[in-house]
Symmetry: C2
Subunit: 338 residues, 2 copies
Amino acid sequence: LSFVGFGNVGRALGRLLLRKRLWLQERYGLDFMVTGIYTARHGAAIDPAGLDLEAAIARAEADDSLEVLSAQPAPAAALDFIAQCPADVLFENSPVNYTDGEPAVTHLRAALNAGMHAVTANKGPVVHAYHSLSALARQVGRRFYFESTVMDGAPIFSLFRGALPGARLLSFKGVLNSTTNLILSRMESGESFERAVAYAQEMGIAETDPSGDIDGWDAAIKVAALATVLMDTSVKPQDIRREGIRAITPEMTRAALAEGQRYKLICSARREGETVVGEVAPERVAAASPFYSVSGTTSLMQFETDTLGRLTIIEEDPGPHTTAYGLLADWLNASAQA
Amino acid sequence: LSFVGFGNVGRALGRLLLRKRLWLQERYGLDFMVTGIYTARHGAAIDPAGLDLEAAIARAEADDSLEVLSAQPAPAAALDFIAQCPADVLFENSPVNYTDGEPAVTHLRAALNAGMHAVTANKGPVVHAYHSLSALARQVGRRFYFESTVMDGAPIFSLFRGALPGARLLSFKGVLNSTTNLILSRMESGESFERAVAYAQEMGIAETDPSGDIDGWDAAIKVAALATVLMDTSVKPQDIRREGIRAITPEMTRAALAEGQRYKLICSARREGETVVGEVAPERVAAASPFYSVSGTTSLMQFETDTLGRLTIIEEDPGPHTTAYGLLADWLNASAQA
């Protein structure tokens, strides 16, 4: 196994792998070595005989360089690292770039071309290069998987890939952005918008610049990723009709609550003829709706298919550990199939 | 493809297959012939060159015998039918028997031994013979699948089989019985228990003898099936602590509603050391709970694993068409893997 990016998510995956090692052997007859880790801030390390994963996690968390762990001179550039590191899988977790998905797209392409499964928690490559990376993966007999990009580790993509064969997705509707959900919940209790944003930042949920969440960009990217993959089309975040929550006031949320309703930032997409129309906008929902009970960091997604009634998936308590689980699941699914 | 049992579910599967035929060819390169149908009330038909499925559905719905469609003398006994019908898959949909799962268990075993995938919507064989039928399926290189037995076509079993590798199920909790859910909802609007039961019967949801639902047996069987398969144990319906809804009055449901709560028949199971403890009992749930919004025939199941936060699946509008979809998905998954 190899890692490009070893931040919160990469290290959470490292800890999960260590915790599950025995169980993976017993249950799947699967063992692993980590042969390389590349980071932007803590250097890189390669050892074809296997790195000490525990030591690597400890060093990265202590802000120490990984280079001392390397059995050979570790390259300074990520692409050289991917070329030189012998591995069956690349876990790509470099920072997200919403504009063109780079450099993650290039990393994932290099990994596939080097015969590795390409696994990422990064939405950029899904939105910008899903079709080309999937085609390349098929061509080289490897897998490009990205379960953790939407609803973290909850198995949305593998659900449709494996568990819903023969079903055609007609539309979906859900709550996918934790920050706006938390802000709307806090405003119901009387907090100002600004105070609610600050709270979300203190909790580590909102970014220093929260506009990506508040203006609906994060939600639009997730809608684009889901539509692109599950509806076999190509939708860009800019194609999504997008309205954030800046116009919602604490008074509005409390007035809604008094009438038994809550505001939620609703994400949706539906087929219209040959195209797919996506939308992100705040809506009032009633207590009889499952959206009503979506609080804090919970995500909810409803799917309408041509075969089943409406199917709803709810994920609670996401975090780096669930993102890590999605990456692990992607690896297990890729190795089981390839 | 062959069918034992051609009632509402079998015929719904037949219609779904006809509707999806072109799409299955385009998407999966998969074509099919129905080579045999065995029924208890409309005779049986076998044709190795393929039966006219549309005609078979029409005849069964007109209460006509299927025998005229048969290319050879069709046997009177189901086991003889399975032995003589050339097929890759048996869809077993004979009536449910909660005592020992027969004759479905014997039919499924015969199908596997004849080299067919064994697919059923019948809970009996799952509760009574899951481990032995799965072992036999592994031995003969076929599949024993039963997605439609709990929450109809919603992909609960394949979710854990394929989409959640490496996750260990610790507990589950949900609402699985439509009849009691409908009765409790109707009582909230002031209907008497007896009138609500009669309504559920008129809707075709409750049986003529509704005690299996009202006393929690149907729910207990579903808990036993989920625990047996997903927690890799062996739980019988009789092992489940079971309390039905007979003690709940319309007054109780309205008093709860006045306090913002609703009664639901909650199904659950959890690991306790080496064993699994299952329970079915009515509970009051608050509006902040996703259980609150489970109305009518909706089912909801929450799963706690060692890796993800709580994961919830909700299925709406089940019926013979969703049961049929689960059978189709089982076939597609079995052929993709075998």
